[in-house]
């Protein structure tokens, strides 16, 4: 018996810290991606970014069409995000009124990995880290280290049986956390049916597809493709804006194009702890604003690679 334990211990030692084989890495990522969508759960998690902290509740349940989830902010302004296969809406309480906005996409903890995470293995090396305990449950850290400078690293702690990520960290090249989300309490198993959505007023369509492109992105970082190109209205903003999104499946970078009515200064922006980067410049007759939760080289590469379409 002792020999068996020793062998198990040695096997664990060998795994910890060393890169997983492609097959093992794929299995871990797929298990986490599936668990976050197809498992019933409800819980409360804390999200920390820089100096700010938010507490949110999340519930998820599988449906015949896929899954639906409800995300509710427990502090700050009243706001919730309802997600289903058909789309997502943000519901906000504004005084006595309820405002509803359609979202182009829904992506929130713990549903962070794409449904098909396998292409990520081209851009990330996956390692198994230590075991941990989060919200009273045992989990195993799965470290996704980027192979280049165009994306942040991720550390997800997968619940030992289901694989549900109980904690997620976005880390920079020095392994310093930029953003962390972790369940404080979670119940796995049957989640209650989501309550009926409040009566929603008629909503304009969130966006329409771009038909004629007047700008071309010539320099996308490895693995990034354009996943959206729409014309949309933004809340608190006059007129329409063209919104493109580039992604490798985990990192998302937005490009906003508006007519340049006057010469545009080239501006670089970064969030206090460096997680969000931004670059604005003039491209032909357009003001282009590129921003995303990505390292500066990725934002800069996309922004400098923009050219007017000839």
């Amino acid at each position: 018996m002792k020999v068996v334990w020793l062998l198990l211990l040695c096997a664990t030692c060998a795994q910890a810290g060393s890169p997983l084989s492609q097959a093992d890495a794929a299995a871990w990522l797929q298990k986490m991606a599936d668990a976050s969508r197809h498992l019933s759960y409800e819980g409360v998690f804390v999200m920390r970014q820089g100096d700010t902290m938010q507490t949110l509740s999340v519930s998820n349940r599988p449906t015949a069409q896929g899954y639906e989830s409800l995300l509710t902010a427990l502090d700050g302004s009243q706001r919730e995000v309802r997600c289903s296969q058909s789309g997502a809406v943000t519901v906000m309480a504004d005084g006595s009124q309820i405002k509803v906005e359609k979202r182009l996409n829904h992506r929130h903890f713990p549903v962070l990995l794409p449904a098909n995470p396998l292409p990520l293995l081209n851009w990330y090396e996956v390692r198994l880290g230590d075991t941990a305990r989060v919200a009273g449950l045992d989990c195993r850290n799965v470290e996704m280290q980027p192979r280049d400078a165009f994306r942040w690293g991720y550390v997800l702690c997968a619940e030992k049986d289901s694989g549900l990520p109980l904690k997620a960290m976005v880390v920079n090249g020095s392994s310093q956390p930029l953003m962390q989300s972790a369940f404080a309490e979670v119940k796995l198993g049957a989640a209650p049916r989501l309550g009926a959505a409040p009566a929603l007023p008629a909503m304009p369509e969130a966006a329409r597809q771009v038909e004629t492109e007047q700008v071309v992105a010539k320099n996308l970082p490895p693995g990034f493709t354009r996943i959206a190109a729409v014309i949309r209205h933004l809340p608190n903003m006059q007129g329409e804006v063209e919104h493109w999104v580039f992604s490798d499946g985990l990192t998302h970078i937005s490009l906003f194009l508006t007519p340049a009515h006057k010469p545009v200064e080239t501006v670089k922006g970064e969030s206090t702890h460096g997680m969000v980067n931004l670059m604005r410049r003039q491209v032909g007759d357009f003001q282009a604003t590129v921003l995303g939760d990505a390292p500066w080289p990725a934002v800069e590469a996309i922004a400098l690679g923009l050219e007017p379409k000839k």
Partner: protein, 157 residues
């Protein structure tokens, strides 16, 4: 002062060369006549040799020194104590301070840092940041942004 102490002081002064020539001659004469004083003189010489590291072969010297110390009067004058150094307590205090600093500096703070902006924050960026959150993880939080002007070169200018 008893006679023995008086002899001891004279012997000590003799050995230290502090007696006058006349007193020294008198001491030499007494040493020739007094066997007890000679024995005392031998002990003084041996003690001096040991203190200077010249000999180690006097087996009963320790007993004699301890006996002599027992006869010394007890001093009741206050003695200055060395400072009570407790390095482990200082280390613990330093560690506690370091932990407290770590907790304080990493704890979420209500106030926000003043942006060291070299450029005027673009007025229309906030809606863009909000719109990007359709694809980012954030639901409510708007990141605090710092801006700076960038000089471009080449084709991107």
């Amino acid at each position: 002062m008893n006679p023995a102490h008086e002899h001891d002081e004279s012997l000590s002064a003799f050995l230290d060369g502090e007696l006058s020539d006349q007193q020294a001659r008198s001491m030499i004469r007494r040493l020739g006549e007094d066997a007890v004083l000679r024995a005392r003189y031998a002990e003084y010489c041996a003690t001096g040799d040991i203190l200077r590291g010249h000999r180690h072969d006097i087996p009963d010297l320790t007993d004699k020194i301890m006996a002599a110390l027992d006869q010394e009067p007890t001093l009741l004058a206050p003695v200055k104590k060395p400072p009570n150094r407790r390095p482990m307590l200082w280390l613990a205090a330093a560690a506690t301070a370091a932990i407290a600093w770590g907790l304080w500096s990493t704890a979420p703070r209500q106030e926000t840092a003043v942006p060291l902006a070299a450029a005027t924050p673009p007025s229309d960026v906030v809606p863009y940041l909000a719109a990007h959150q359709d694809y980012a993880q954030s639901v409510v939080t708007q990141p605090e942004m710092n801006y700076s002007l960038v000089s471009l070169s080449g084709a991107a200018r």
